[in-house]
């Protein structure tokens, strides 16, 4: 009995102390924070799910994608289509009739079902990533060329979604949702449930990513990052692994989008653009890439900071954020979690030194 307790203690308090604390804090947050702040935090939790995906592909596999906004947006639009259909109660959604569309387009119809919409929110990004990933990775397009390609992808989707106003709501995006599965979105109880669902999904995403990186496949991913040719010579086919990690990462982004929309109440093409995509990568850079905890901390902290600073200094907040980013990237190249590890190293070294000195005296 004591052994089990000790094991649990060992597992949660020692080996996974930081992440356990994060989740306990997230679960307890509604006790301390107002409805509005919880709603915001729920949005950041959605971003954290996306950050985990980016960390998998960038932090662990070394592939920099600056187009994750697209996958996030696709997931969000799938969810938004469901919410819009539910709130227009069988009629053609308002923005369609403004744009001169009288009949509901065929591809909108199945989105009236929530399970279908949620499945598509993950499946469409996964499929898109698999197609793009297969074509690029198979042809050994990598490094900066892949990154540029993902940026182009992001531009293409923004232009497409703005242009197809009748089907996507154009620059306005899709908004004015009333209910989700029959529950009013403005009801505090619904909001709180959405928040806890977001936290649970983040936990599930974390466990999922942890399972991947703790297995052999995770080590292959890191090996691709550190020496792709060696992996190839050892008889692995990196293409398969890269497509896999790109698709998983896109699926997490899509899930994040689906979690984001009911809490925020709007999705617009701007969220798919290059700037949000770069921001997403910056969360992981600041939190600490190559550590799942770092991705979560980065996403939540950077966005909290953004909210608070923009509330306190509405005129000049963007300069603050920019300076913070620069400072962190220059002085803490491995992010906030990296600092913790650096301190640990310095401490340990000094201890070793002391012990050596003590040994010398004897």
């Amino acid at each position: 009995m004591l052994e089990i307790v000790a094991k649990i203690k060992e597992y949660f308090l020692k080996r996974n102390a930081v992440i356990s604390i994060i989740f306990v804090l997230l679960c307890l947050a509604p006790l301390f924070l107002s409805d509005f702040r919880i709603n915001l935090l729920g949005k950041f939790v959605a971003f954290a799910i996306l950050a985990l995906g980016i960390d998998l592909i960038w932090g662990y596999t070394g592939i920099l994608s600056l187009g994750h906004g697209v996958f996030f947006g696709l997931g969000a639009y799938c969810m938004a289509m469901y919410l819009k259909l539910e709130s227009s109660a069988g009629k053609v959604p308002d923005f369609m009739s403004w744009s001169g569309l009288e009949v509901m387009p065929w591809f909108w119809k199945p989105f009236a079902s929530a399970p279908f919409a949620l499945t598509m929110a993950i499946l469409i990004p996964v499929l898109l990533a698999m197609i793009i990933g297969y074509l690029t990775f198979k042809n050994r397009i990598r490094g900066v060329y892949f990154t540029i390609l993902t940026q182009a992808l992001s531009i293409i989707f923004v232009v497409l979604f703005i242009g197809q106003q009748a089907y996507t709501g154009g620059t306005n995006g899709i908004t004015n949702f009333k209910t989700i599965l029959g529950f009013s979105l403005s009801d505090p109880a619904t909001k709180l449930s959405l928040y806890y669902i977001a936290v649970l999904l983040l936990l599930a995403a974390y466990v999922f990513c942890k399972l991947i990186i703790d297995r052999r496949i995770g080590r292959v991913l890191v090996a691709i990052r550190d020496g792709e040719n060696r992996i190839r010579f050892s008889g692995y086919n990196p293409t398969v692994y890269k497509v896999f990690v790109y698709a998983i990462s896109a699926g997490l982004a899509g899930l994040a989008g689906a979690v984001y929309v009911p809490q925020v109440g709007i999705i617009s093409p701007a969220e798919m653009g290059i700037i949000p995509s770069i921001e997403m990568v910056s969360w992981v850079a600041i939190g600490g890439r190559g550590t799942l905890t770092g991705a979560i901390i980065g996403a939540v902290l950077v966005n909290s900071l953004k909210s608070v600073v923009s509330e306190s200094f509405p005129d000049i907040w963007s300069y603050f954020i920019g300076i913070t980013f620069i400072v962190i990237v220059i002085f803490m190249p491995s992010g906030l979690v990296g600092i913790y590890q650096q301190i640990k190293k310095v401490w340990r070294n000094s201890l070793l030194l002391k012990r050596k000195e003590a040994a010398m005296k004897h």
């Binding site: 620059t171 403005s186 900071l305 201890l351």
Partner: protein
């Protein structure tokens, strides 16, 4: 010994990390220690010694160029009210938020103002997209938004007061006037988003009913700057009128390239509905000279209230600044709200909404009145011509204020438009 040391360290480091994460998290979710207590008393606005109001415009991003001056006008009105003793014996305290030209950010900040700050009302937004983004927030929280820009109509939320023109106070009379005075052949040019699309839908129905002729309907993406193909098309199709619903930077490119192509206002009539004095400064008066615009107010509008308003605005923000229609609407909407609060004796949203119905105010543009039925303003309509100095000379106006009709219910030809 070694193990004990390491463990001990682990413990300390763990605690430090926890403390760090905790404090950062708390700091991140911010201002709760003070903000939380506000929550307990819903009528914080009545309880404190100030009345909090929200100002929500884009102070950064592409829309900042237009929205900052609108914010300035609202701040000026608030200062005026505070200088003359405040409202219900209290000072008005503006809380400014930046929507950053990003629609979800507008929704977030609207939530913050209504739920966290418990503001009595919000003055804000410019683009229809931002208004559509915050509309569900205002309806869910029973907030009050005052929206100062002309727009495409087809909306009347009980939680919004619309102090810019409805389509029947800008677009419809302009088309009517053009048909009578300039010709029947219309070329519609707009940016590709909801306002130009809806406006053109209305214009097309109107042309059909009044014997006009649609030559072409062209849209370019927001921010588009190459108009050579469109100008060639204009040259080839020879319309009588180009009805321009372009927005933002595109106007600079369009009018400059039109002039470079040798087409002046003598050769071609254009009428713009999104170009006011502030935008002309960016386009350059030399490029716009002689072209037509349609609004409810110009800096040159001849009323005693306007002389006073322009003087104050220039004194406060600099002699090189200009006033224009949205700036004026932003200024009067603060006063309209204040009048409604005085009449209601309270800042309660439902009471203010009731008191605002039928309220009249002597505005720089003339006497305006809040229509109770749809919460839009009765406004005079003015067609103007751009002068060499960048100001606009009125060449035609309605005799009296026009009743707002956002759904164009009073026009038989517009029956199929609203649904």
């Amino acid at each position: 010994m070694k193990i004990r040391f390491a463990n001990k360290f682990k413990g300390i480091a763990g605690v430090v990390t926890i403390a760090l994460v905790l404090s950062l998290l708390l700091a991140g979710c911010g201002t709760e220690k003070t903000g939380g207590s506000n929550e307990a008393k819903p009528a914080a606005t009545d309880a404190g010694d100030t009345i909090k109001v929200g100002i929500l415009h884009s102070l950064s991003g592409t829309m900042a160029i237009s929205e900052v001056s609108v914010k300035d006008a609202e701040m000026m009105a608030i200062e005026e009210i505070n200088a003359s003793g405040g409202l219900l014996g209290k000072k008005i305290e503006p809380i400014i938020e930046d929507g950053a030209s990003d629609w979800p950010k507008f929704a977030e900040k609207a939530k913050k103002l209504l739920q966290n700050d418990q503001v009595a009302t919000v003055f804000g937004c410019w683009t229809s997209a931002s208004r559509k983004a915050v509309l569900p927030v205002f309806e869910a929280n029973n907030g009050l938004l005052w929206y100062p820009v002309q727009y495409e109509g087809m909306e009347a939320s009980p939680n919004i007061f619309y102090t810019g023109a409805a389509p029947n106070q800008q677009i419809v009379p302009a088309v009517e006037w053009l048909l009578e005075n300039k010709g029947k052949k219309f070329f519609l040019l707009g940016s590709d988003y909801v306002f130009p699309r809806t406006a053109n839908k209305i214009i097309k129905a109107q042309l059909k009913a009044m014997g006009g002729e649609l030559i072409a309907e062209e849209y370019t993406p927001l921010g588009h700057t190459d108009y050579s193909t469109i100008i060639n098309k204009i040259k080839a199709t020879k319309p009588d009128v180009v009805f321009n619903t372009l927005n933002g930077d595109s106007n600079v490119a369009f009018f400059k390239q039109l002039k470079d192509a040798g087409i002046t206002s003598q050769d071609l009539t254009t009428l713009s509905v999104s170009v006011a004095e502030e935008e002309i400064r960016g386009i350059g008066a030399e490029n716009m000279k002689g072209h037509l615009v349609s609004w409810n107010y110009y800096q040159t509008t001849d009323t005693p209230e306007n002389k006073e308003f322009v003087k104050k605005y220039k004194e406060k923000y600099g002699a090189d600044r200009v006033t224009d229609d949205p700036i004026e609407a932003a200024y009067i909407q603060v006063h309209l709200w204040a009048e409604a609060v005085k009449k209601a004796g309270s800042t309660d949203v439902d009471k203010v909404r009731e008191a605002a119905k039928g309220l009249e105010y002597k505005a720089p543009e003339g006497l305006v009145k809040i229509e109770g039925e749809n919460q839009h303003l009765w406004k005079p309509v003015r067609i103007g011509e751009v002068q060499e100095d960048g100001l606009i000379k009125e060449i035609w106006s309605t005799k009296e204020a026009v009743k707002p009709d956002p759904y164009l219910k009073s026009y038989a030809w517009a029956k199929d438009l609203s649904n």
